[in-house]
Structures are given as C-alpha cells and as structure tokens.
C-alpha cells in the first residue's frame, strides 16, 4: 500500500468516524518496499491540496523518513522545484507497505497488511 493511500484511509469502525484520534492510522511492524513508478507530476499537483499534511508528517516520522517541512509546498513551489517533486513522488507513490499492520489510535483495531493488501473486513457488530 502506498503512503499516499494511507493519507486517505480512515478506520472503518463506526464509532471511530466521530473522533479525530482515528486518523491517520499508525503503521506497526511494517516492512517497506520501493516500487519504481513513472513520475507523474500532474497527478501530484492534482492531489497536493487534498493531502493532509499534518498526517503525512506523522506517517513519515513513524516510517523513519526524514522530517518533512511543517507546511506543504504551494502548487507553484512544487511545480518549480524538481527535487521536491521527486522526493514527494518517492514518498507518496513509490514507498509501499508490504507487510505489517495499521492501527487505529482510537479503538486500537489492527488492520493487517499482507503482500501489500490491507484487510479492512470488519465483524458486523463494529460496522
């Protein structure tokens, strides 16, 4: 699973929809792989305003990446800064969690990830 996807995923447990501690999900015992993906600057510019930057800072820290700047780049900054574009591409699209789990900070539910596939199936009473 890509770091970008993790920035959009929330806990699926019904009771967690109303809390802020349920996002972002926290990687636990995760193995990372790096997949080569063709650069797609237009895509990054498109999703940039939708990225929850504070959540991304948390995730990057938890995955052991160097600290991100405290605020996201503007569209213009990202457009004109090739290095930043490459770094974001590497972090958001090429870095993938292959094994481990994602843990909700509110209810503690663990979503297992196997071969990159996260299991979001819930027992009915939690839905």
């Amino acid at each position: 699973m890509k770091v970008l996807t993790l920035n959009f995923l929330t806990c699926a447990v019904k009771a967690c929809k109303t809390t802020s501690t349920s996002f972002p999900l926290h990687p636990k015992d995760c193995e990372l792989v790096s997949d080569t993906i063709a650069p797609n600057p237009q895509l990054l510019l498109n999703v940039l305003p939708r990225i929850d930057w504070n959540a991304l800072i948390i995730t990057a820290g938890e995955l052991g990446f160097p600290t991100l700047p405290p605020t996201p780049p503007t569209r213009e900054e990202l457009e004109s800064n090739e290095k930043m574009m490459t770094e974001l591409h590497t972090l958001l699209l090429e870095t993938q969690i292959s094994e481990g789990s994602l843990v909700c900070g509110n209810c503690g539910h663990e979503y297992k990830i196997k071969e990159g596939i996260a299991n979001f199936l819930l027992p009915n009473h939690l839905v």
Binding site: L4, F8, T10, Q42, D52, N124, V127
Partner: protein, 281 residues
Amino acid sequence: MSRPEDTLPPDLHYNDAEARKYTTSSRIQNIQASMTNRALELLDLSSPSMILDIGCGSGLSGEILSSIDPSAGGPHIWVGMDISPSMLDVALQRDVEGDLMLADMGQGVPFRAGSFDAAISISAIQWLCNAESSEVSSTGRLSRFFNGLYASLKRGGRAVCQFYPKNDLQRTMISGAAIKAGFGAGILEDDPGTKNAKLYLVLTVGGSAEEGTGGDITGVVKGMEDVDVLDARKKHREKGRREIKKGSKAWILNKKEQMERKGKVVKNSSKYTGRKRHITF
C-alpha cells in the same frame, strides 16, 4: 441463465478456480475492457486522477486506468476494494499498479471526505442486493455503501457503476439508495432491449449551485440517447421540506444525515435523539 449472485456470497463464488477462469477468459476480458472504457468516457477525466475501483476483482479495469496515455489525460492512480481474496490474489500475480484492499463495500468506504476525483465500478454493485447474512439487510448495506462513496468523493466528482440488476426492483433499489445518499443520478443504457444491454449508473456529487451544470447529472448525460435522468432527488427534498417539522426528531436526523454527507462529524443517533432534555437536580 442462473445468477451467481443468487447462489453464493461473492467471496465464496469467486474462489481460486473461478477467479482464474474469470480473468483468463478472453471473452470476459474484452467485455470488461469495453465497459471500463465506456465508464471512463462518462467520467470524462481530463488530467491524471485518483480513482476508487469498487469490486476491482483481478484488476482488469485498473490495468486500463494505469495505462492511459498522458495525451488522453492519464495515467490515473487507483485504489481497488474487493471482498474476494482469490480475485485480489490474481490481481497481485498480474502485478497491477493500483493499491488493493480486502474490503466489503456493504460495510462502507473507509476513506476521509473528498479523497477521490472519481470512482468506477464494473459488474459489482448488484451483489449488494444479496444480504450476506440475516443480521444485515441489503437496504442497510446499500445505504452504507452509497453514503460512504458520496463522502469519499471530492465535490464535483463523479462515479460510474456498470451493474447487472436482476429485475426492475433491484434497479430501483440501487438507484434509489444512491439518490438518498445525495448523488445526482442518471441511468444510461447501451444496446437496450438486446441481450448485450448494459446499464451504467452515472452519479455526480454536486458542487454548489453557482457552479452551474458542471457537476450536474443533466449536464453529464445531456445529448446522450437512452439516458434516464433520475430526478427523485428533487422530489425527495421537496417532500422532506413539506413534511418535516423543524426541531422534530425527523428534522434532526435529516440534518445529521446532511452533515454526515458533507463529511462532518455527527453524534450517533439513538432513541433519545430529538427528545426534550428534562433538567434534573
């Protein structure tokens, strides 16, 4: 012809053998590809987008999304949800580029509000009409799915779901649930009346009224033949306005629903919702 939907739950029907048979059949590959391309045409994406594929299966649609040429507005990235581990396993073996997750659309769409530019679903949502167990009704599953989908799309976003309703009742149940969730909805029928007839539920998440026709369903399908624009959304609202008394329980539930749709956080409703609170000492 018997419908697999009527005999087994999806994760059992799409077992290892069926998943492989399904994905390697060139007949199925061709049909799924042409429906994916039709859905893409209806989504009308002009630049690389983030797409949710519901019931993505072995990734036949996803492979198309990943391979769209920049001159045609691609390539897109996608996240696929599917309930069948075997189908997802075949997707892994095919080394698809999208992210895959094992998830039941009837349990909702676990993404924060406004995550996706668009959503696509090919030959999957009719499965929602078959309740997995007696504990959960198909109405409940349909509404969780469409409410979740609505919230996960950005304003002005679209979803196109090709589906195979068993009968008119299912067709109405599905489109009705989408409208109830807040979508503008239309049904497009290709080759109507033939055995190759295909139905596409075209859904839009309206921006504000001032934004004009951009997100509006009538704009999307204008000029197309065999489109049935469903305007029940309007009826639903008007009816609501007449009958619901401000401050009543129904009014509060309605407000909550609206807030939830906008991705706002609301308290769970209970039998106490909307009751007068008596002061106690």
